[in-house]
């Protein structure tokens, strides 16, 4: 029997073509339908009186955003992509109905798992599918998306939006949500690392909160193995997440930053701003590697497999004396359902160093007035704005009305009336990023923080944010390859003992150089200098 007859093949292709053709005619896009609805609604006088019931700040927004119609976005549907809650997505879902009440726009929050968010957003944008109008994602990604024209330039909108109070947002976060001088996203969250410590334990042992990483190690060593919670088991001196493919690439830089950067933010801590050579194959970074590895000795036995969620759980259940984390522990610790350490938690700026890197020789030198101009009491601090907080961006390919509605929603979420409440709630995952949020301690006390704890927590945030030597997260093209692939893997190999300190530093150096060369050294250097303000 002759199997592949021309007839069979013909059938195959006809079928293929039919199947293909059936899908070919583009179905009318929902957006256009929505648009006509909007036009109709706007053309006729809208007589909705329910707005009377809406609270005060709500009225203010209505005034700002819509002078003519009471509900400017009646019938508009906004699809927003973010990752699955309760953190971050929860406030969007909770406040979505309020926003609908206010403006008429319906907000659909589409969530995907955290680890897949970047790919999902990218696939949607790069293939021109454009099924999402807004994205709540990491501002680090702007550098990939904005030059490709995927994201709407929000500069004008932000500056003309009184209710948003853009100037209330700390300048650092304003910058971080911009690219090439244009604003592309609105921050809903502010992130950098701080060290948390147990006030009760340190007091008992007569120890001061850590000022340098050496202090940190000493405290961890002293307290490790003591029984904090009285269950008869030894507890841990320090809990820092170290799992692979989690976020250890951020932790290592919190440790390395004060050893590497001392001349202010524009000096940079990742690459040499003249040659784009990685600043890793030197004594400063190696010292940081050793510190990071040494904390393992004072941590839980399975620390190499713990992510930040695990260490947070351990800290708030009272099993750790020290931890390095974002602002989350501060708010989680006051939640009685999740915490055994209410009012026992203190926070300080990420520890510093008394020695810094000499860029010429690659060796560590002692701090003095020239080497560490920003040192406080001889200690060089360099708080690291790892990740930088979740932010809302608008798809440039969306329909104009939809763009406006999407922007309005992110603005609404970021306005002090909403945001200042959300940042004080542990489960939202939002951390403070506005002046009004850490100056007004009343907000925090109202949500269960003691006045002392609030002063301490917000003081640490303020100290970090006001530091002229803050280290900006890497925001150059391919930043994922540099940090989340190569640095992450080599770090994991180093922590697991597959590589020693010198090998690890050398490998990171080589891997980064290769990525830089592939992407174009000049181009990368240009981008790096621009993002840290070195030009």
């Amino acid at each position: 029997m002759n199997f592949i007859k021309p007839v069979g093949i013909l059938v195959l292709f006809v079928l293929l073509a039919v199947v293909a053709a059936c899908g070919a005619p583009p179905t009318p896009e929902t957006v256009t339908v929505v648009e006509t609805v909007v036009v109709e609604k706007e053309s006729e006088p809208v007589t909705v009186v329910e707005t009377v019931e809406v609270v005060k700040e709500v009225e203010k927004i209505v005034e700002v955003e819509a002078e003519a119609a009471a509900k400017p976005f009646e019938g508009v549907e906004v699809n927003i992509l973010t990752f699955v809650g309760p953190q971050v997505a929860e406030p969007l879902q909770r406040r979505g109905p309020d926003f609908t009440e206010l403006t008429g726009a319906t907000v659909n929050v589409v969530t995907v798992p955290n680890a897949e968010l970047y790919q999902k957003a990218l696939a949607d944008l790069a293939t021109g599918t454009n099924s999402f109008d807004g994205f709540l994602f990491a501002p680090q990604w702007i550098v990939d998306f904005a030059p490709a024209g995927f994201l709407e330039d929000l500069t004008d909108r932000v500056h003309n939006d009184e209710a948003l109070e853009w100037d209330d947002i700390a300048p650092f976060f304003q910058d971080f949500n911009s690219y090439d001088g244009k604003v592309y996203s609105i921050p809903l969250d502010g992130d950098f690392h701080m060290v948390y410590y147990r006030t009760d334990l340190l007091e008992e042992a007569g120890l001061e909160p850590p000022r340098t990483w050496d202090d940190y190690l000493n405290i961890a060593k002293t307290l490790n193995g003591q029984d904090f919670d009285g269950d008869g088991e030894g507890d841990y001196g320090s809990c820092i997440a170290k799992a692979r493919a989690q976020q250890s690439y951020w932790w290592i830089y919190s440790i390395a930053a004060p050893f590497i950067q001392s001349q202010g933010t524009s000096q940079g801590a990742f690459f040499n701003t003249e040659t784009m050579e990685p600043l890793v194959n030197n004594d400063a970074f190696k010292r940081a590697l050793e510190v990071y590895k040494e904390t393992t000795d004072y941590g839980p036995p399975d620390e190499l497999n713990l992510g930040v969620g695990d260490t947070r759980g351990l800290f708030t259940s009272g099993r750790c004396a020290l931890s390095l984390d974002w602002g989350d522990i501060g708010t989680l610790a006051i939640d009685p359902e999740n915490s055994n350490v209410q009012d026992k938690v203190g926070a300080v700026i990420t520890p510093g160093s008394t020695q810094v890197l000499d860029w010429e020789t690659g060796e560590l030198v002692d701090c003095d007035e020239t080497t560490c101009p920003y040192a406080v009491d001889g200690v060089n601090y360099a708080p690291y704005a790892s990740f930088g907080g979740w932010a809302g961006a608008v798809n440039a390919a969306a329909d104009d009305t939809v763009k406006d509605a999407t922007y309005a929603f992110f603005s609404y979420m970021s306005q002090p009336a909403q945001a200042n409440e959300d940042v004080t709630i542990g489960r939202t995952g939002y951390n403070p990023y506005r002046f009004s949020q850490f100056l007004n301690r009343q907000l925090w006390v109202k949500n269960g923080m003691s006045p002392e704890a609030a002063a301490n927590y917000l003081g640490a945030i303020e100290a970090s944010l006001n530091s002229p030597n803050m280290v900006l997260d890497l925001r150059i093209p391919q930043n994922q390859s540099y940090q989340q692939v190569e640095l992450d893997r080599i770090l994991a190999q180093y922590l697991a003992g597959e590589l020693d300190t010198d090998q690890a530093a050398q490998e990171i150096n080589d891997a980064w150089d290769e990525i830089t060369d592939e992407a174009g050294r000049e181009q990368q250097l240009e981008a790096y200098r621009a993002t840290i303000g070195a030009n």
Partner: protein, 388 residues
């Protein structure tokens, strides 16, 4: 006239009927003749539709570098760069592993395998049915097996470090060995007429029904040495300061345990169905003739389930090579790179937008699976099936 009309009116429906029945019989004849195609083609079409196209596209991606460009994306053709990096470049120690200098033992083992392969080749050349194609195929097979053994022997030594290739092979072969043995054992137990066997049958299926991601998280919970259910046992054994995740082999064993837990049911249910569909009268006759359990199993049951078993192992092998959820969730491929499988390596590259390298790893995996599956089919499956 009437006489004329009558037959006509009678004939007309008759004509119609014969026409209809003729077309019908034509049609059914045609259907009958082409039944071979009609049975087979739908599946072939479906596969062509969704498999060939992605296969070719992803091959092209593996030869290029992906980047985001204005308004979309760009694929820049880079030739074999991605493969080169895996096999000879920076990723070599990650992909193939860190080769330790050979020890006497490793040389001995390698020598043993080489001798075995040489014997295999010589036997073939001496046999009566030598052909160029057959020789070529066997040559490729011998070289491939020798290369794999060389890698395994050198990276699994005390100073070496297995790369993702070796780790994947360990997952596949060790995992399948335990899954098949356990599955067969359980199937033989359950096929007996025991009261309550329906209960066991259903219960034993449970692990397979959990979504792999969920099963992986579940095993992370269960194997946790400080908060998991076995923590007291662990501490009682004086292992308070030790956790399996910090030891490369500990972590691999944990993943193998989870894999075995989840996939033994797959072996179990197919083998059970195979055992149940064998004819009981043969066994009855054998029992009457005084055959014991072992003899019955050896001469009746085993040959009956062998074809199914071999297919089962092949299918499971192909699936096992794609292991990703367990290492990804339980250890993220750590400690270091100790538990990273090929698919996980590909996935990590993919997540960071390094689509070219990701596709290259996937294609290397495809080559590896194809090589092993073809060797398996040629060497074991076909021979055994022929014999039976």
């Amino acid at each position: 006239m009437q006489i004329d009309i009558k037959p006509q009116t009678q004939i007309e429906p008759n004509d119609k009927m014969t026409f209809l029945s003729r077309t019908w019989s034509k049609l059914s004849n045609w259907l009958e003749r082409t039944s071979g195609s009609i049975f087979l083609w739908p599946a072939v079409l479906a596969l062509l539709f969704l498999s060939i196209f992605p296969l070719i596209v992803s091959f092209y991606i593996s030869l290029s570098r992906f980047s985001i460009a204005l308004g979309g994306f760009e694929l820049k053709f880079v030739g074999l760069d991605n493969y080169n990096r895996l096999l000879f470049g920076r990723e070599q120690t990650h992909f193939l592993g860190l080769m330790a200098p050979p020890t006497p033992l490793s040389l001995f083992l390698f020598g043993l395998v080489v001798v075995g392969l040489a014997v295999f080749l010589v036997r073939y050349i001496r046999s009566s049915s030598v052909s160029l194609g057959g020789l070529l195929g066997r040559g490729v097979l011998v070289i491939g097996v020798a290369a794999l053994v060389w890698i395994l022997v050198h990276t699994l030594g005390p100073d070496g470090r297995p790369g993702t290739v070796a780790v994947t092979l360990i997952y596949v072969f060790v995992g399948i060995f335990f899954q098949y043995t356990l599955g067969l054992g359980l199937a033989l137990l359950v096929v007996q007429k025991l009261p309550g066997r329906r209960f066991f049958r259903v219960v034993f299926l449970l692990p397979m029904m959990i979504t792999p991601v969920g099963a992986a998280y579940m095993f992370r919970m269960v194997t946790d040495t400080s908060k998991g259910p076995f923590a007291p046992l662990w501490q009682g054994a004086g292992l308070t300061d030790f956790s399996w995740v910090t030891s490369p082999w500990g972590a691999r064993v944990a993943i193998l345990l989870a894999d075995t837990w989840q996939w033994t049911p797959f072996m179990f249910i197919v083998l059970l169905a195979a055992l149940e569909s064998q004819a009981t009268d043969v066994i009855e006759a054998a029992t009457v003739d005084g055959a014991n359990h072992r003899q019955i199993f050896r001469h009746i049951t085993w040959p009956a389930i062998l074809p199914v078993s071999l297919t089962l192992i092949l299918i499971r092998m192909i699936e096992a090579f794609k292991i990703i959820d367990l290492p990804n969730v339980m250890t993220n491929g750590g400690p270091g790179t100790a538990t990273e499988s090929l698919t996980l390596q590909s996935f990590i590259a993919w997540r960071a937008l390094n689509l070219g390298e990701s596709a290259a790893i996937a294609y290397m995996l495809l080559f590896l699976v194809t090589f092993i599956a073809v060797s398996y089919v040629m060497l074991i499956r076909d021979r055994v099936v022929e014999k039976v």
